[in-house]
């Protein structure tokens, strides 16, 4: 009889065909849709700003025009076929060639108009061709350059984030149980470790473990020659991941532990925790259900922030460890004014970030019933 009363009959005003879905599921779907649309808009705005910045507000057009002029000039000067022409004839031909190339690249049209075309192409992942860079397989397609690097980045930073989350959570819970103990005070005083970025620790770790001790590689992802067996390859990659992961953990775990420990302490002084103790719950159950569970939304939020930080920090950390990932590729592209690759990787980063945030939003709505799902309650 209790079961009956738990599902009170709902008003039948909604369209009949929707009745197969429960109101809660519909609300959840609507929430997901709204979050998705909001993120797509955010990504579009972010990418559009990136298009402007990468093109220096259109100034890169001028650089490219100058480059065309120079290239055409060089090719005319070195071409024996044009040796007999008068300077004015030569100039005319050169101007015609420059004009043809400028028009081919669309550089004669105003930048503002093309910026939207860029945006549309970027969002649909038609990332175009790179000007100078090429992928390891020789392709000039920006998409292949990026997709070739993406797995390495996802592997390293995916592992790093999962490690930070579970190691941090475990230590934080451990310390919150021992509030005020020596270990607790030690870890609190060590929290400023996180003030330095991962690549900073990376430099020292490379110095210690690669240069002095010589037990771990300086960088890269695989030894050359590569191991023959799959298992050997996996082990080799793991060996190369140790130092970057250590650097990452050193830099991010301290602050995560510190904040999470504080969240847990705050949540363990709640009245419902005391009531749970009075109820006679086992201390493990109290920790799981009455401390960890209510604290999870705040923990997840903080984790989302470190995730954003991770995509940013990838750039220099990968460069320090010569990790063949997106971050290092972006670093190289910036140095080469490689606009299509810069925009392309910003698009990919934006999408990665948006997908992470989207998943976290959904997770959030699932773990915290207080997250409003955008519909008024019955």
């Amino acid at each position: 009889m209790a079961e009956e009363s738990r599902t009170p009959p709902k008003a039948e005003s909604a369209a009949g065909k929707w009745r197969v879905f429960s109101p809660a599921a519909l609300r959840f779907a609507r929430y997901t849709l709204i979050r998705g649309v909001a993120l797509v808009v955010t990504v579009a705005i972010g990418v559009y700003i990136a298009v402007w910045i990468a093109n220096m507000g259109g100034h890169v057009d001028e650089i490219r025009k100058a480059e065309i002029r120079e290239a055409v000039g060089v090719s005319f000067r070195g071409n024996p076929a044009y040796r007999d022409l008068t300077p004015s004839e030569k100039r005319e031909l050169m101007d015609a060639e420059i004009k043809r190339q400028v028009e081919r690249l669309g550089l004669d049209k105003p930048f503002i108009g093309r910026s939207f075309a860029y945006l549309a192409n970027a969002l649909t992942l038609s990332l175009g061709r790179a000007e100078r860079m090429s992928s390891d397989t020789g392709s000039k397609q920006v998409r292949s350059i990026i997709l070739e690097r993406l797995p390495a980045t996802l592997m390293l930073f995916g592992t790093a984030q999962v490690l930070v989350f579970f190691v941090g959570l475990f230590i934080a819970l451990f310390l919150s149980r021992r509030y005020g103990s020596f270990l607790d005070r030690l870890s609190v005083s060590l929290a400023p470790i996180s003030a330095a970025p991962p690549w900073f620790y990376g430099i020292f770790l490379i110095l210690i473990f690669a240069a002095v001790l010589g037990v771990l590689p300086y960088g890269g992802m695989l030894d050359a020659p590569t191991p023959k067996t799959t298992f050997g390859t996996v082990l080799n990659v793991v060996k190369h991941m140790i130092l970057p992961l250590m650097a990452w953990l050193l830099s991010t775990v301290a602050i995560s532990v510190y904040t999470w420990r504080t969240f847990f302490l705050i949540h363990s002084s709640e009245d419902y925790v005391e009531l749970a103790k009075a109820k006679g719950l086992h201390s493990n159950a109290i920790e799981r259900r009455y401390i960890l569970r209510p604290a999870l939304p705040t923990v997840i939020t903080q984790f989302a922030l470190t995730m954003i930080y991770a995509w940013q920090g990838a750039i220099i950390t990968e460069t320090v460890f010569s990790w063949p990932g997106l971050g290092r590729m972006l670093f190289q592209a910036i140095g080469m004014y490689e606009v299509p690759v810069i925009v392309g990787s910003v698009v990919i980063f934006a999408y990665l970030l948006a997908i992470s945030v989207f998943l976290l939003d959904i997770l959030y709505a699932m773990i915290d019933p207080r997250v409003k799902l955008g519909a008024k309650r019955a």
Binding site: M1, A2, E3, S5, R6, T7, P8, Y179, G180, E270, D271, Y272, E274, L275, A276, K277, A278, K279, G280, L281, H282, A285, R289, Y290, R293, P294, L296, I367, D368, P369, R370, R377
Partner: protein
């Protein structure tokens, strides 16, 4: 001889703080019979919540001294090791009704699951069967049963308080302790809750301990009143009427005089000064400084005097 429900003797609970040792509960003795409703009355900071914590063994980390005896139906529960205390005393024998105004309910677990939880832990009942019983108790305290699947934030203050009450009653404990059950609720809701409690006391013969600073709302429910002041019990009455109409201790008298009544016109009184600090309290009578009937004996600590009508009072006036 039938054992008393509760016999508290010489109970002490001191806390360590950076400023010194706080003597929150200082030598409390208390008797209680089954089916009785006892009101513990006192101002904020007089140690009444600490007394409850000491009885329920809900101790914070900074305990300095915790000694005495709490005998529940013939067993000294202070002597039980923690694990046996957890499985045999917590909620099976004594349950607690916390203030709804506080976060007494977990915000991310359904109310029904929280209310039925004691049955799942202590009687190893399945979740479904426990929920059926929770629905039963919800009906008793007047909460619609479909609220079982709601979360705490979807309940009004009054409903939340009823749900917490239901949680305390579900395991049919010998003693229910209520920590200011009606504070922070509006007058109508207070009256509602008090009526629910009265019904439970009448129908089930449930024993209650109330902690309150609100004398008016508990007056009609409690059989006996206990007045606490500065960590000590200063007066125990044997009937409610005696206590509310004719209190003995000067502090109780002042306390009653500060309660507004509709029937008679009276000037509301207040007590000048402040309760003493519980860090190094005065050696004599702790109320002496604010007492309007102070005399020279008050510099020594008065014992508990038992009067012929069963009342007890800690004041030299009744020597």
């Amino acid at each position: 001889m039938v054992d008393k429900l509760l016999q508290v003797r010489d109970l002490h609970l001191y806390f360590k703080t950076t400023k010194g040792v706080v003597q929150a509960v200082d030598g409390v003795a208390l008797d209680m019979d089954s089916g009785e409703a006892l009101a513990i009355i006192g101002e904020s900071g007089c140690g009444k919540t600490s007394l409850i914590r000491a009885i329920l063994r809900l101790l914070p980390n900074n305990v300095h001294t915790y000694k005495g005896s709490v005998v529940l139906l013939g067993t000294d529960i202070m002597k039980l090791p923690e694990e046996r205390f957890r499985t045999q005393v917590r909620w099976r024998q004594i349950s607690l009704v916390a203030q709804a105004a506080m976060n007494a309910l977990n915000p991310v677990v359904r109310v029904g699951d929280q209310v039925s939880e004691p049955l799942v832990i202590h009687q190893r009942l399945g979740k479904k069967a426990a929920l059926v019983q929770a629905a039963e108790v919800f009906r008793m305290v007047g909460v619609p049963t479909d609220f079982l699947s709601r979360y705490a934030f979807e309940l009004s203050g009054g409903m939340r308080q009823r749900a917490i009450l239901a949680m305390a009653l579900i395991s049919e404990p010998n003693l229910v302790v209520l920590d200011e059950p009606t504070s922070a609720l509006d007058m109508l809701t207070q009256a509602n809750i008090m009526n629910v409690l009265k019904g439970i006391k009448r129908d089930l013969g449930q024993s209650f301990i109330f902690i309150t600073h609100d004398v008016a709302t508990t007056s009609e429910l409690s059989d006996r009143g206990v007045v606490m002041y500065a960590g000590q019990i200063v007066e125990i009455s044997s009937t409610a009427e005696q206590f509310y109409l004719n209190p003995l201790h000067p502090y109780s008298q002042k306390l009653m005089a500060s309660v507004p009544t509709l029937k008679q016109k009276k000037e509301l009184e207040f007590i000048p000064g402040q309760p003493p600090s519980l860090i190094g309290p005065p050696t004599g009578c702790r109320f002496a400084e604010r007492c309007h009937r102070r005399f020279d004996l008050c510099d020594q600590e008065p014992p508990m005097f038992s009067l012929e009508d069963g009342r007890q009072v800690k004041c030299w006036l009744y020597k």
